[in-house]
């Protein structure tokens, strides 16, 4: 794999991790808002 391909893969993995974190936070917030 070229170095640019490697960088692209690493950055996409970081993005997927950030997305998963935000998605989980969103779900937890929705649950707390419903419980109010």
């Amino acid at each position: 794999m070229s170095s640019l391909g490697y960088l692209a893969a690493v950055n996409v993995v970081i993005w997927v991790g950030l997305f998963a974190y935000l998605w989980r936070l969103d779900r937890r917030l929705t649950e707390k808002e419903r419980a109010r």
Partner: protein, 220 residues
């Protein structure tokens, strides 16, 4: 809304991959350093957008005194600062490759650093005012003051003297000097970062609202 958020996953994934793999590196730059434009400029755009949103909601708070508007304004400043710092970091990475130093006191670097300090002061001000009635009012007034200075620091001050910074998208010729793949990825990244900002703003403001309501509710 849920579908839009879900769409952001493949959309941003594709934009990030394309930023490295689709357009050719721009001529006149060392190695692949020009690819920073797909991250650095969207970060700067997002922080500016966040500060404009903060000004809008601060004005709305001063008019209507709705605490939800204050929550959104404060959340927008926090996220704007995050993207502002990312702008400085990505700019510094580029500066080290192109100009041989992480920091050069270039007019654009310096004015942007001042902008970050200006909005960091907003957070210090919020934490310094203990009275929950006065805090949102003073913070909103400061956010409006900062918004008046922002265009000078972002658009005017860096153009007064010669700069090492590459020509910006808003240039004297009024033309976007990019080939088609670069332009597609660049504007795709601007749209993606804007979507990400709106999502993060909603999460941050909703978290602030839950915290405020918990503090205001009588203890059990």
């Amino acid at each position: 809304m849920k579908a839009l958020k879900l769409m952001l996953l493949p959309y941003m994934g594709a934009v990030i991959a394309a930023a490295f793999l689709w357009p050719e590196a721009a001529k006149g730059f060392i190695g692949e350093s020009s690819r920073i434009v797909f991250f650095h400029v969207p970060c700067a755009w997002t922080s500016t957008l966040a500060f404009v949103v903060a000004a809008g909601y601060s004005l709305a708070y001063l008019v209507r005194r709705n605490p939800w508007h204050d929550d959104i304004a404060a959340a927008a400043v926090r996220i704007g600062l995050l993207f502002g710092v990312l702008t400085l970091v990505t700019g510094s990475l580029f500066a080290n490759i192109m100009w041989g130093s992480w920091w050069n006191w270039d007019p654009r670097e310096s004015s942007y650093l001042l902008l970050v300090f200006l909005y960091a002061a907003y957070l210090f001000l919020r934490s310094a005012v203990e009275d929950p009635e006065r805090r949102p009012r003073i913070a909103a007034a400061y956010a409006l003051f900062a918004a008046v200075l922002m265009p000078f620091l972002t658009f005017v001050a860096p153009r007064i003297t010669a700069s090492l910074h590459p020509q910006t998208v808003i240039n004297p010729q009024g033309k976007i000097l990019m080939d088609t793949p670069t332009r597609a990825v660049f504007f795709g990244a601007l749209a993606g970062f804007s979507g990400l900002f709106l999502w993060m703003l909603s999460l941050e403001a909703r978290t602030a609202r839950l915290g405020r309501e918990r503090r205001n509710s009588p203890a059990v």
